[in-house]
Amino acid sequence: MSSEAISHGTQAHAMHDDHHDHHHHETFITKYVFSQDHKMIAKQFLVTGIIWAIIGGLFSVIFRLQLGYPESTFPWLEDFLGHWAQGGKLKPEFYYALVTMHGTILVFFVLTAGLSGTFANFLIPLQIGARDMASPLLNMLSYWFFFIASIIMFASLFVQTGPASGGWTIYPPLSALGEASSGSKIGMDLWLVSMAMFIVSSLLGGLNYITTILNMRTKGMSMTRMPLTMWGLFFTAVLGVLSFPVLLSGAILLLFDRNLGTSFYLSDIVVAGKILPNEGGSAILFQHLFWFLGHPEVYIILLPAMSMASEILSVNSRKPIFGYMAMVGSIFAITILAFLVWAHHMFVTGLNPFLGSFFVLLTLLIAVPSAIKVFNWLTTLWRGNIRFTPGMMFAIGFVSLFISGGLTGIFLGNSSLDIHLHDTYFVVAHFHIVMGVASFFGMFAGVYHWFPKMFGRYLNNTLAYIHFWVTIIGAYLIFWPMHYEGFAGMPRRYYDYSNWESFKMFGGLNEFISFVAMIVFAVQLLFVFNFFYSIFKGRKVKSQNPWGSNTLEWTTPINPGHGNWPGEIPEVHRWPYDYSKDGKDFIPQDVPVGEDESKH
């Protein structure tokens, strides 16, 4: 920090100053475990996220076995799952537990914590020019709360009655009554406690991301000179900070219902011929509270992926991002609309159709900023000097998936069509493509693009291209046929479709989907191998700025220490998208504007 900045009273302690001792002795514990360096915390989030992704992905493979081969038995499953797969056949209770945990793990632990936890931590200080997060201590706590949440959720897999099994949306009464199913017993309590810890983690992280971006930008880094990744991560944090507390309230009330005998969500329930004393509550109330988080959550998952794709597309097209302000405006519009559309998940709950029409309108309005973003990505690519790096491939894949999955959202957002499509495989196909796989592609793009900055080495390109092609083709092969099944009325969350005359015809298709799912899962293991192998044995990065990128993270040393820049933090003089300008391939943000330079 320059001496003049210190003269501003507030700044002296608001910014991390140069007195930070970069050379003090660090032990293994302070460097790798209880680290307060944002880069190490990011890596902790990433590795934890990868472990969760393997577990969550494996669950989907196991329940796809049941769906694809409902008449077969797999004796090896019994060795692996014990009494949950007696005789090699998955028990229905455990099938539901697997589906529930697959959703919970991937939505919260991988695509929320693993995605924004990794990239917000890693990129924010590096791209805005800060030594570290506003509060490195809270940042460390954010990871450790996530770790505690992970441990509790992991432990719930091993309790005797099994983990939560009421679906990742944990609707009461299934989730509120212990006697409702085996997964509604202690597994459900652990789920709720784990999520409470998770919400604390997300709150600590989110507060840090917001304040760091607002308060700690380096000199010259005005808001409109920030890379789009920063805008995306900023609004992701805003969404999280304002929507997760509502889930917390909902979860606390649910815990009361489960353990203290209250009736917030329960009314007039008969279980096994016995009338329960609960009265006056409303199960729909929980759905409102849940989806007030649940819908913004979709954008918590998507916005980081979108914004990283924007950055990577621009860098590898060697062209400025098209419509920077329109992109920022779209992100902002999506953030606002995200809070106003939750009831489109509840069209068939008996919601007043008049009220429903408002939610239809607001839902379909999201198509506008989404379309603006898609057009801007395509026009950024248009006549660009494209380099097909693995990161770029995944970013383009992201755009493809976002279009394919986004279009089906227009069907589902319509309350009359939704009567037919609700809770069918059409919904499964829609959200897996647009939010699940697309976000994974954004995440992969980010990992391939910033791996050299994280570890000073490259990932193996051959493995990366295999990973890309198998994953994108596989994703479409898995989820495209599900639209067809959904149109035909095949409901989601069923254990076995072979008993229904009308769904028997999908037996072959289900088998095909399961088969592809296994291949895609295997290829993800290839990525995991590539990731860990390359950390230690990958090709070393030789130049400071391997992608020829304008943003500030590439002005740090190849392996930046705690504090990021050995000398002063560079001052910023321009926006981050000066590519192919005035005959120059790229002009980094810290290069002063020349006198005869043209305006962008």
């Binding site: 506003a134 304040t211 308060n215 380096t218 005005s222 808001m223 509502v246 209250t262 009265e279």
Partner: protein
């Protein structure tokens, strides 16, 4: 916090400074309070949803009419008014503590922080009494033709509509959501007050040890103050929703 001279042509958003001229801690506290407001908002909206969907919600003038050591005197809302006064008064002393902090007056900060802590503990004490009184109460309730004696708990509500039984008016069980929401939300608020008291005690000790004098500013007191005022503000809404409506 040291005051900063604001130059006329300062470009607040251009980086290298806080656009709000506030430290990161204060900005963070504001965002935390916004987040916490959503937690309480969700609770109160849930409460409203259920309350207006059931009949015979308890009349607060009947439920909250007791006062410590006043026997069976009917004093509707008197005690809760006292509680509210105590809490709001503790906000006043908090403002004074922050004010003394601005003037680097250690003794003044200590004095007013102590008063704020006492106010917080007094409020919690009042709440404990009120809860005990409600839970341990004995009210005649007609259940399946028999008179039972109920307190107000999360599963029992003796404040339902009254019916004629053997020549006298007797209450019937009311909607059980009453106790759940009352104890749930005032309890969650009480938990916030308790955290606030703990934070204030830590701040008091740090002041006493001279940490803020060494640091050169009393900003931590200011941040604790933001939290404390927020907790008071939430109480105003809780008070409105449970006692006045």
């Amino acid at each position: 916090m040291a005051t900063t001279t604001i130059q006329a042509e300062t470009k607040w958003w251009n980086g290298g400074r806080s656009p709000f001229n506030a430290s990161y801690g204060k900005v963070m506290m504001w965002y935390f309070l916004m987040s916490d407001a959503f937690t309480f908002g969700a609770f109160l909206i849930s409460y409203g949803t259920i309350r207006f969907s059931v009949n015979n919600w308890a009349d607060p003038n009947h439920v909250f009419n007791a006062f410590p050591f006043a026997g069976h005197a009917n004093l509707p809302l008197a005690f809760v008014s006292l509680m509210t006064f105590i809490l709001i008064f503790s906000s006043v002393t908090m403002v004074l503590a922050v004010h003394e902090g601005h003037h680097m007056n250690k003794k003044g900060v200590e004095k007013y922080m102590l008063l704020t802590i006492i106010g917080g503990i007094a409020f919690l004490g009042c709440q404990a009494w009120e809860w005990t009184h409600l839970i341990a109460g004995h009210h005649d309730v007609l259940v399946n033709g028999q008179i039972e004696h109920w307190g107000t708990t999360v599963t029992k509500n003796p404040w339902g509509s009254e019916v004629m039984h053997n020549g006298t008016m007797v209450a019937t069980p009311g909607p059980i959501a009453f106790g759940g929401y009352f104890f749930g939300i005032t309890g969650f608020h009480g938990f916030h007050v308790l955290s606030g008291v703990v934070i204030n005690i830590v701040m008091y000790i740090k002041t006493k040890l001279g940490h803020f004098d060494q640091r050169g500013h009393y900003e931590m007191i200011e941040k604790a103050g933001l939290y404390w005022h927020f907790v008071d503000l939430v109480w105003v809404f809780v008070f409105l929703c449970f006692y006045l409506i």
